[in-house]
Symmetry: C2
Subunit: 377 residues, 2 copies
DNA sequence: TTGATTTGTTTAATTCCTGAACTTATGGTC
DNA sequence: GACCATAAGTTCAGGAATTAAACAAATCAA
């Protein structure tokens, strides 16, 4: 376990990139002397290392950066079958991959992780000792200690203390998190939101997820439900949703909804790319579907901006494109529905992510707990 | 200036009410020894005092509480003319009132405050020495240091360093804040949100304001615009708004909008109370207006809950009632448009506030900076 | 070569906090 | 009423984190 100053230092370096001791001391409000000691400790722990020296006037400064090989983390996604399991370093680089069968039994999951772990670490003799944590991403609600799954429809769980079960079985610190929140953490630690204090990540997939970072910290809400924009009413009186109400964003703008609408219109599109092509060729039904979906997502994002004034909106999508009609309408609607004073002030970035998102997100939860400390403080 | 441990102690007492040293030590994660010293210092500063003793098994415990007379704060509202100016204690009790003419010239305002201050403090010889800060509430955007007014349409300001101007003139620490955010802070320090970490306050008046507390701290957003729900699009393609877009919540559900709609319908109602009475008597136009307004506000609140999952929504209103059609529709719409799993999980409280809200809110900004420290940290 | 300049380290002093022993004030029990 | 159990709060020595100030190191500029 690191001291709070050590964690603060790692956090600052993670946000601002490689910096000299003097700069770090200033930005943390500490003396050079204190900085010197903290840096020395972290370097001897193998977590930090000196990189290049920068020449200026006076003695050159030595930049300190996270040592990529300083700590390893394991991430497991319980969103897919088979469940991917990755080994990640400090920078979110994936060093090894394995898969394991998906189970709904927590004890079986813990057993499978314990069995697969040696394979994942194979060939790295320092890995086991430098493995600092396991992270698990799942669909559902997780408590603020990132230990218990309060409820998961997909896994059929209710108050399952998954983290402790895995911890006991594997002997390694374990944290679990909701899928969308894990992606947000990974964007904060490894991605393009490193230096942004307030932002929201929208994960666009079969369903729509969202998570907020506020004040540099993941905000989970009072019941762990912050960011559940999928079920905000975007078309009052609209189509019924699986959740029981009507007109949810999820019924109009999710990848699943778009595909279903295309199918219902008799279009033979299997992907949003096909639908965009059809729309570009003038197919009225395709245009209508994409327009409606883009409009809905844009309005939801406008509300997000208007309500929370984030520094950035990041849309992470595995499938789909945002450079066609759908994305254009989404952006236009978002801009048109925020205070004109704010229009264009909040960057909306889209980010096509690879199939490792969920597992990498899971690993980032473990990294977050090591670097920044437990989310609840 | 207090140490961070002292501030933490004041914060905890403010949230949990009078507590014994042992309880406080436990809830702050400190040893009894440390607590003893911190409490001793704050008592000798006159900020804390011992209240009743509680008998249990063993030695009775002595409850510590904020000493109401331990510190005074001045609050000024620049929302009304004449501008009210109040003297407040630690508990938000108003000890004295004055008014001063409203001006749009920052230097004139500072001069007026300096002139009125002695009258406000008259008859309290310890007040001047125990006066710990001045807070100013205004309509507009304020920077995160609560020092500069970035923009105010009402006052015609752009980047006005009001806090420093007043500080120089009066020699007392000064902080400024947006009106709705000031009300939220006052509910956190003095009101019913004391022990809630995450909540949103909606101020319902001629306009609609809103502010969020997240993680026990005021969240101002990246441009100071967090909580601006008045201009979220609630009726796409609806009536044009002063802000330049259409269908804003403000055009349908604000007190001003309701009155204007009533006037446009030829109703002779001068207050929402009259309108409620008309509606109860079966006046179709009155019913329609209240229904539409309640529906709009309810939907906005549903979005607030769905997006941010706060522990409480607090509606602070000077005029109006929430026990009639308007309030009922608002609550029903809010409940009907959140995930059924969450329906009823987020208390929506309404709170009729007196005419001192804004000035008291302003004073709470000063108190907040004394008790909890600057908002930016 | 010398001085200016800035980085980073060392050292002693200081602040804040902890653990352990202690004092204080009560209730309960014989 | 004497005595013990119990819990609150205090005192005090020691330890960890931090600072200020002096110092050493590494470069540039004249």
């Amino acid at each position: 376990m690191l001291t709070s100053s050590q964690q603060q230092l790692l956090r600052v370096i993670g946000q601002s990139g490689p910096s000299s001791r003097t700069v770090l001391a200033a930005s943390m409000g500490l003396s050079k002397a204190a900085m010197s000691g903290i840096a020395r400790d972290l370097i001897s722990l193998g977590v930090l290392h000196e990189t290049e020296t920068v020449q200026g006037q006076g003695r050159p400064s030595i930049l300190l950066d996270l040592h990529p090989e300083g700590a390893f983390f394991v991430g497991i996604s319980l969103l897919e079958d088979p469940a991917p399991m990755v080994l990640s370093d400090f920078n979110g680089n994936i060093l090894a991959r394995q898969t394991m069968p998906l189970s709904r039994d927590p004890d079986v999951i813990a057993g499978l992780i314990a069995d697969t772990l040696p394979k994942l670490l194979a060939g790295r003799k320092d890995a086991k000792q430098k493995l600092q944590g396991i992270g698990v991403a799942l669909s559902g609600f997780v408590d603020e200690r990132q230990a218990n799954c309060v409820q998961s429809t997909l896994l059929g769980w209710q108050d399952v203390p998954l983290a402790n079960i895995i911890r006991r079985k594997c002997g390694i610190d374990t944290f679990i998190e909701n899928d969308a929140k894990a992606v947000a953490v990974s964007e904060k630690l490894f991605g393009s939101a490193r230096d942004v204090q307030n932002f929201s990540v929208v994960s666009f997939d079969d369903g729509i997820g969202c998570a907020h970072f506020i004040g540099g910290k993941l905000y989970r809400g009072n019941h762990g439900g912050a960011g559940e924009i999928a079920h905000c009413t975007i078309e009052p009186g609209g189509a019924p949703c699986r959740c029981g109400k009507r007109g949810c964003l999820d019924t109009v703008a999710s990848l699943r909804a778009i595909k279903e609408m295309a199918k219902a219109e008799g279009l033979s599109c299997h992907s949003i790319e096909d639908l965009e092509t059809e729309a570009a060729l003038g197919n009225a039904a395709a245009v209508r579907i994409l327009h409606r979906a883009g409009n809905a997502l844009g309005l939801a994002i406008a509300h997000l901006i208007q309500f929370n004034d984030p520094g950035m909106i990041l849309i992470a999508h595995v499938e789909g494109r945002f450079d066609g009609l759908f994305g254009t309408v989404m952006r236009q609607t978002a801009e048109a529905n925020v205070l004109p004073r704010y229009a264009g002030q909040t960057p909306i970035r889209t980010h096509r992510v690879d199939g490792d998102v969920w597992a990498r997100g899971a690993a980032s939860i473990a990294a977050h707990n090591f670097l920044i400390g437990p989310n609840a403080n």
